[in-house]
Symmetry: C2
Subunit: 278 residues, 2 copies
């Protein structure tokens, strides 16, 4: 633990990336971090993650092709982006929709307050565009996994998820002397298909899209329109190891080797003028 604290505070160089063996192409692993405690408002999330990295067998040494994926819930909790629904008075529109569709009117009220616009409000589903530009059900506001004493507390999305990711990245770099790309992930539904998948809502240290346009494919043919949503794929792969009920809220994805750079999650969002489903 003193090593960890020293790493965070003083930028101590722990033995690390020099020892990492090169990984064969086409191999990927996801390692859920063990030992993450329940996170509370005001907690130093980066320090908790660094402790968890130390506590998880097989994670160290970190390597240049590792990515740390952190689920939104613990970021929001640490940052105090939570709302106690008992303090919320819903507007009549929220009350009416909640009564019709058996939902909590206070949660709908919070979604509407956080929304830049309502995209759809029908069939019991409220889809909004958040202040960040994400289009998702319930504005990313969520009540699950909030802790045994959480009562009616829900999490909002972090105010600036890229900034949240940058802070974690800086602390991890100081602790381990490895510049790990960070992805903040959240579970989104999709039109036309049932079920949620995790996508990226904040990033630091990577480019969210791998633009293959103009690069040759395996046959040397120029690919015209292939842009990979790499940050989203990293979030999804992490979730597959984390599961939904395991109490593991962060994972290292090893071997994916995303394009490094100072990308922003907004780079991955489609501007309104291209949107065929406004």
């Amino acid at each position: 633990m003193s090593q960890v604290a020293g790493g965070v505070a003083g930028g101590a160089r722990l033995p690390g990336r020099e020892a990492a063996a090169p990984r064969p192409e086409g191999r990927l692993s996801v390692i859920a971090l063990d030992g993450m405690p329940e996170v509370h408002p005001g907690d130093d999330l980066a320090a908790l993650l660094i402790t968890a990295i130390h506590a998880t067998a097989g994670v160290l040494p970190l390597a240049e092709d590792d990515v740390l994926v952190v689920t939104q819930k613990i970021v929001s909790k640490a940052e105090g982006a939570v709302v106690d629904l008992t303090t919320i008075t819903p507007r009549p529109e929220a009350v009416a929709f909640a009564e019709r569709w058996d939902r909590d009117p206070r949660q709908l009220e919070v979604v509407l307050r956080e929304a830049r616009r309502i995209v759809r409000m029908a069939n019991g589903v409220l889809i909004t565009e958040t202040s960040h530009g994400f289009i998702c059900a319930n504005g990313g506001i969520d009540a699950s996994n909030m802790g045994p004493q959480s009562g009616h507390v829900v999490t909002l999305l972090p105010a600036d998820p890229d900034a949240s990711a940058s802070r974690i990245r800086a602390a991890v770099r100081a602790a381990f002397d490895v510049d790990l790309p960070i992805v903040i992930s959240d579970s989104f539904g999709r039109p036309w298909r049932w079920g949620i998948v995790d996508v990226a809502i904040g990033i630091s240290g990577l480019i969210p899209l791998d633009d293959m346009r103009g690069k040759p494919d395996a046959d040397g043919r120029i690919m015209r329109s292939t842009v990979r949503a790499t940050a989203d794929e990293l979030a999804t792969a992490a979730e597959l190891a984390l599961g939904k009920t395991s109490g593991r809220p962060a994972a290292i994805v090893r071997g994916a080797n995303p394009t490094r750079g100072e990308g922003k999650i907004s780079d991955a969002l489609m501007p309104r003028e291209f949107d065929l489903f406004p």
Copy 2:
């Protein structure tokens, strides 16, 4: 090679699942299969995959928590679900749209022929509902990675991707005595976000959705609306290891442990009456 052929033909029991060590929870690995040759119409795809499993270091023994993800392109090619665009005469609607947006009118014609309905046709983008019920750009029809002599040949989606998956599953079971769930994957765009991600278009041996509704979360709270799109997540995780230009068209996902069962991909598609983006 004789072992492989014997396995396929005679159901020989190779040393296998008894030797597989239990994997720690929260660990996942993806192993792209090496040694897949270029696939041609009429090829026995399952036999090629079995050979590739033998040729890939670290894959054997297969285990009960492995999933084999196979990309659509090689399934379509093996099944002859290909069209030579030089044989296609586009309708005037396809010609006009192609001229306006610098696209191949013959490819648009094939998309329209394969479509059950047009969902959007604007901004240079043609989104259709396929005969399978998938809603995606260009009806899943694709020209990349078709081989150096492919000229103007494009792949269609397999006629019945679940059946394609079932055939591979039966052959793998006969060869290795392990009942591996199979996912056929393809790259789909999404509304509101740039970039494609791989999703499942055909499955065998697993349930595509993990319905967490009514199960307690980590705090014992009952989760009301969490349904995981597990088959899609498996497809996405596989893609992250396969990459787009590596010539590796199939992967084993190890440790994800999806719910086993006789699911159909149509179970993962939202019926029209729930669709807020028709």
